[in-house]
Structures are given as structure tokens and as C-alpha cells.
């Protein structure tokens, strides 16, 4: 299948390993990606916290460019995904806002461009059977918990994807790779998001709770699809509680025997190599 790709700003920086693993996995699964031409930032939490119209207009500019190709838009970053879906939701229900946005961005906005995240595309379009067939090295012995966080699922009428209180697609994807996925009740709890830098103290408490609950569930790592969740869990938990955190696409690449994981794991703040080596996954 062909999709437009919106990498998001962190793809070139703190979430380099996510964007590189997404590319590798997409290629291997037959997802042809076309980066949105000259894309710009979605505005993230900072725009919608301080200026409603700016928070709609910034994704709208990218939607306008994406609609020229007419393909579904794949957005790996949970925060960008949420901002695009939300902007689209407002534009579709509010005619006056749509007209105003069109004048601000200097072009028409059409409906019907599907904004999707890679969990949805891999689980529903590629399919778990097809994924399993690509697995050459089962993730035997790995005990992850899947962590969705907030922005992939809420609010449900906007995100329209997976169960919003107990999502399961990511668990199924990891199980298809041979991992022993652990159940826990914190899949959709918040990591503190963008308060990471301004109120590190609060975020520390939130990720400590997540890490200790993951441990209690019998997990040896946490798997995410969000650069913000990754950053907070990887950097902000107390040393005693820290456990390896992976982007789900890194583990997919590992299971599919693709090159890259060794390079990506070096970018993690909490070194996942001792765990990976102890399970002889690399």
C-alpha cells in the first residue's frame, strides 16, 4: 500500500530511532511512504494550550499539502496524530472555521483524507498473519507491556481507533512477534507529556508509577508508539525503577531481522542492550 508520511519534528532529533525504524519496517512490510512535501510543525500541546486557531491552522497547512496526493496519511508520532485528527474534526464540523482556515493557509481543504497511525495500519491493513510470516527471530522471553498513553486514543470520537480504555492492537502486534505480552491496567495512563521540561518533578512521579506498575505486572520493558511517552519513560524515571523502553517498530525490526536495532538502541538513555543480550535477541 501507499501512504503519505508526516514524520513530525522529533523525527530528526529525539525520536530519530522511531522514524528510522518506521521506515525500515514500512519498507519490509510493503508500505510505500511518501513524505509530505515541505511539511511544517503541527503545533503540538503548546499551540492548543495557548491559541485555538493556531492549533487548527498549523495542521491544516499540512492537510492541504497532503490532500494533493490523496493518500492516507501515516503519522507515527502520537502527538502529531492527535493534533491532525483534532484539527480535521473541528474543520469538518464548523463551516465558518473551515472558511477562516482556508483563507489563513491560502487554499481549499477537502474532506476524506484519512489520518492514521502505524499501529492501525500494521494491525488492520497489513494484518497480523502477514506480519507473523515476516518474523525471522521471535522475541522469545521478552516480557513487554504495551503503553499507548493518551494521544493515540483520546478523545475516542476524534481518534476512532482501538478500544479507548483497554486497547489491544499493540499487544497483538507484539504477540505476533513472539513476545510474552503482560497485562496491566496502565496502558492509557498519562506520562505527563509536555510538562517534562517545565515541571520535571511532576513527570518524574508519573513515570515512576508507570515503571513500578509495569514491574509489578511482570514486565521487563515498556513498549510505546509516542516520542513524548518514550522520552519521559526513558529519561525521567528514578534509576532504581527505570526499565528499557522501546518504540514498537524497533522490536518489529528486530523480530524481522532488519538492520538498524543496534544503532537505534545506542540512542536510548536507559540502555536496553543488557536485556536484549540476556535474551539472546541480538
Amino acid at each position: 500500500m501507499k501512504v503519505s508520511l508526516y514524520p513530525g519534528c522529533s523525527a530528526h532529533g529525539t525520536a530519530k530511532e522511531y522514524s528510522q525504524s518506521i521506515e525500515a519496517v514500512s519498507h519490509a512490510l510493503g508500505i510505500e511512504t511518501h513524505e509530505i512535501d515541505d511539511w511544517s510543525c503541527c503545533g503540538a500541546t503548546s499551540a492548543h494550550s495557548t491559541n485555538y486557531k493556531l492549533s487548527v491552522a498549523l495542521p491544516a497547512r499540512n492537510l492541504m499539502i497532503a490532500q494533493r496526493k490523496g493518500l492516507d496519511v501515516m503519522i507515527p508520532c502520537a502527538a502529531c496524530f492527535n493534533r491532525f485528527k483534532t484539527a480535521q474534526h473541528h474543520i469538518e464540523k464548523d463551516k465558518a472555521l473551515r472558511a477562516e482556515m482556508e483563507s489563513i493557509i491560502g487554499g481549499k481543504l477537502t474532506d476524506g483524507i484519512a489520518i492514521r497511525n502505524p499501529i492501525d495500519i500494521i494491525a488492520n491493513d497489513i494484518g497480523l498473519d502477514a506480519l507473523e510470516k515476516k518474523v525471522v527471530k521471535k522475541l522469545d522471553g521478552l516480557k513487554p507491556v504495551s503503553y499507548y498513553g493518551c494521544l493515540l486514543l483520546r478523545p475516542p470520537e476524534v481518534c476512532r481507533f482501538d478500544d479507548y480504555e483497554n486497547p489491544v492492537l499493540l499487544d497483538k502486534i507484539l504477540a505476533a512477534c513472539g513476545a510474552d505480552v503482560k497485562k496491566w491496567a496502565f496502558k492509557t495512563d498519562c506520562c505527563g507529556g509536555s510538562l517534562s521540561i517545565s515541571r520535571t518533578d511532576i513527570v518524574g512521579k508519573m513515570v515512576n508509577k508507570l515503571a513500578s506498575m509495569a514491574k509489578e505486572a511482570g514486565a521487563d520493558c515498556i513498549v510505546t508508539a509516542c516520542p513524548l511517552c518514550m522520552a519521559n519513560l526513558d529519561m525521567r524515571a528514578d534509576a532504581a525503577l527505570k526499565m528499557p523502553v522501546f518504540y514498537f517498530t524497533e522490536l518489529l525490526a528486530l523480530a524481522m531481522g532488519l538492520p538498524g536495532p543496534e544503532k537505534w538502541f545506542k540512542l536510548h538513555i536507559t540502555d536496553p542492550m543488557p536485556l536484549v543480550r540476556s535474551l539472546k535477541l541480538m
Partner: protein
Amino acid sequence: MKTFLDEVNERIDGVPIQRCYHCRKCTAGCPMAFVMEYNPNKVIKMIQMGKKEEVLGSSTIWLCASCETCITRCPNEVDIARMMDVLRQMALESGKGAKEKSVLAFHEAFLSSIRSGGRLNEPMMMVNYKLKSGDLFSDMALGLDMFTKGKLSIFAPKTKDVASVRKIFEKTKTA
């Protein structure tokens, strides 16, 4: 004359917040309630009581992490997450600024980076944030670690047509 409640409802543009019957489901599920001075359902009550100064001057509105758990679970579909956005914006428009100064400094540094390059430049944003917040020394070791690992890209590509992004900022300017 419009009451504070009228203003908030008009800007949320959803169900009127007075539909809240204080079941406290929002507060029970709020991951930030443990640090908020007023819980989410209390903010609704305060708006109904016209306590504009107290609400707009509170840390609560800036500590809301926009996780959207409240709106997802509210039995009456009161959009509390959107209400928090509206309250933050009203606080800025009133010229009061933010009780949580570092949170606002982060948002300003973030948006100023987008305005200048079309995309976020993480290291430049951090420098700008540190200057704005005065919090110069936190995360230094972590920043160095990230830099050494190659996690920070000072020269990340910018948006070529950055003029179109700046135009968006111009045309949506509020205060």
C-alpha cells in the same frame, strides 16, 4: 452583560458546562489532580460562581496535561479538556499571564521555534526555554548525554516555505 460562565461556554462551543452534576469522574481519573489546587469539577463550580480571578490565576489550568481522560469519561459530555484550553487562553488575553510560569515559558519557546523555522528545533528551543524560565542548570548532564549519543540535531531541516508558517502565526495572533 455576559457572565464568566457565558464566556466560557461560548468559547467551548459544546455542551454547557453546567450540565456537570459533580459525579467527580473527571477528578477521579485526572492524572494531575494530585498536584492541582482546584480539582477539575471544582473549576466548573467556580466558573458557575463567577470566580474569574481565582480560576484564571490558578495553577490548575496550566498543570492540566491535556490527556483528555475527563472528556472521554464524562457522562454528560462536558468538554473539560477544551475548557482548560479556553481558560488558559483567557488568562493570557486578560494579561495576567500564567501562575505556572515555567509551563508558559515552555509553550512560548516551543512556538517561537516553529515560527522561526517552520519546524521545532529541539536544542534551540531548550536554550530559549532556559533563558525565558531562568532555569539554567537543570538537565545539563542529560542534555550532554543526549548530545553525545547523537539524539539532538542542531541542524535539523527547516520548512522551506517558512513564510507560509509565519503568515499563519500573523493571522491567528490574539493578544
